[in-house]
């Protein structure tokens, strides 16, 4: 029993106000911000609330001497591209900082190239350099499965994996590692590297966005850049999303962002080509033709392997 290990002098004598602890940590602002700023992602938000609750209770337990060692906080985020893994990782770093489980709360986002060297003896210093930057915060490894290449036994990725595993085990209080990638490949990666699986406490799966959610995301994205859809353009965007989803290389919110970037490009061209004076309000308006210029609409049939434009 944990109680037997606790120092009797530290035991609580009065009821604990968890709500006050919750408010005091400033964590509800982070969670509310998560709820407000991110569209959809219901299961993810629920999981993060659970983890935040666990961490809060853990912190209170530490305070009263019930917890004996630093909890394992390493996580894996799985989901298709553009489902908000990096964004959520950033929020996670603030939550961990608010609760004092990491000291500084920075997020260092890396991929295989940042960790693995190109020749013998290059990998360890490279990985250690990154780890040094991540100490006190969160190390986010995107597409972590590329670290391990089973087809090449001389691959230097293995060396990076060994260093990471060691740090994940021995420096748990110094940094939190989040591995991210496609669900199926991550599963395979974990099967081939059981060391990682056992060191990761929380697996969070990011679902794809619904069409309606993507439409609302596109509203927010435009709003942030001081643009907006005309009502007709919004209807076109709705159709665009449905069509874009069927095409290859669909990557959720990222595809939407790219589509909007191109719509802005067409809008600018349209305004330049416009004869006569321009109403300032036109600078903020995305019209249907800005979207209808997309190849998604121009081509009736999809060509496999083609990138969206």
């Amino acid at each position: 029993m944990m109680l037997d290990h606790a120092d009797p002098a530290m035991r609580p004598t009065e009821p604990i106000d968890l709500k006050a602890e919750f408010a005091g940590a400033g964590i509800s602002e982070v969670l509310d911000g998560l709820e407000r700023d991110l569209v959809g992602l219901k299961p993810v938000k629920a999981r993060i609330r659970e983890i935040a609750a666990l961490l809060l209770v853990e912190r209170v337990r530490q305070k009263y001497g019930y917890a004996t060692e630093a909890p394992t906080l390493h996580m894996s985020f799985t989901g298709n591209p553009g489902t908000g893994k990096t964004t959520v990782a950033l929020r996670m770093a603030s939550i961990l900082k608010a609760l004092g489980f990491v000291r500084q709360g920075q997020l260092i986002s890396v991929t295989r190239d940042d960790l693995v060297g190109q020749y013998i003896g290059h990998t360890a210093p490279k990985t250690k350099e990154i780890l040094k930057k991540a100490i006190g915060g969160v190390l986010f490894i995107d597409e972590a499965y590329y670290l391990y290449r089973p087809d090449n036994e001389r691959d230097y990725g293995q060396e990076a994996i060994e260093i990471l595993l060691q740090v994940m085990e021995n420096q748990r209080e110094d940094l939190v590692v989040i591995l991210a990638g496609y669900a199926d490949r991550m599963d395979k990666f974990f099967t081939l590297n059981p060391g990682f699986r056992s060191r990761i406490a929380h697996h969070i799966d990011f679902p794809d966005y619904e069409n309606a959610e993507l439409l609302s995301i596109s509203d927010t994205m435009l709003q942030r850049q001081n643009y907006r859809f005309t009502p007709e353009a919004r209807a076109v965007m709705d159709r665009y999303i449905a069509r874009r989803r069927e095409r290859p290389y669909f990557s959720n919110a990222r595809s939407i962002r790219n589509a909007l970037d191109r719509a802005r490009l067409r809008q600018a061209n349209r305004l330049i080509a416009h004869d006569g004076l321009i109403d300032p309000a036109m600078l903020t308006m995305i019209e249907p033709e800005d979207l209808l210029g997309s190849r998604v609409f121009l081509e009736a049939d999809t060509h496999a392997g083609e990138v969206d434009t």
């Binding site: 000291r103 920075q106 040094k132 930057k133 100490i135 006190g136 915060g137 110094d174």
Partner: protein, 140 residues
């Protein structure tokens, strides 16, 4: 003879905990921390060996304490100093520098006097340690 230089030279040597707090202060100000070592303690020796590059983009003192302990392990009998560089426009120079390790046995300096023309006197300070070749000056 105890060599002193830089900040806190009037204080006893800082403990690791105190060093760590100083480092965190530097990092919080956005300064890049740098480690240097030497076995030539002469006060006019400004060219100390660098322990790797100045550590940019580091947020937590623990990372630098790790480097410091590596440096101490390899250069057991050297002076090690820690400095922090402020890259802010108009500063662009060191903001802090202090000694974080010294050899167990500091031999001190010999003062030699040389009489020159007109009963003039020329003085020279020479570290006793320097009589041995580089790398063998302190310790055994």
């Amino acid at each position: 003879m105890r060599v002193t230089q830089g900040c806190f030279s009037y204080l006893p040597d800082l403990t690791d905990e105190q060093i760590s707090k100083q480092i965190q202060y530097c990092l919080d100000n956005g300064w890049a921390v740098n480690l240097e070592y030497t076995d030539d303690p002469h006060p006019r020796n400004t060219y100390w060996e660098m322990w790797g590059l100045p550590m940019f983009d580091i947020r937590d003192a623990k990372a630098i304490m790790g480097e410091l302990s590596d440096c101490r392990r390899i250069h057991t009998d050297c002076y090690i100093r820690l400095s922090a560089f402020d890259a802010t426009n108009t500063w662009e120079s060191l903001r802090i520098s202090f000694i974080v390790q010294r050899p167990a046995d500091e031999a001190g300096f010999m003062l030699t006097r040389q009489e020159i023309g007109g009963r003039m006197m020329r003085y020279e300070t020479r570290a006793y340690g320097l009589q041995k070749p580089e790398g063998a000056r302190y310790g055994d």
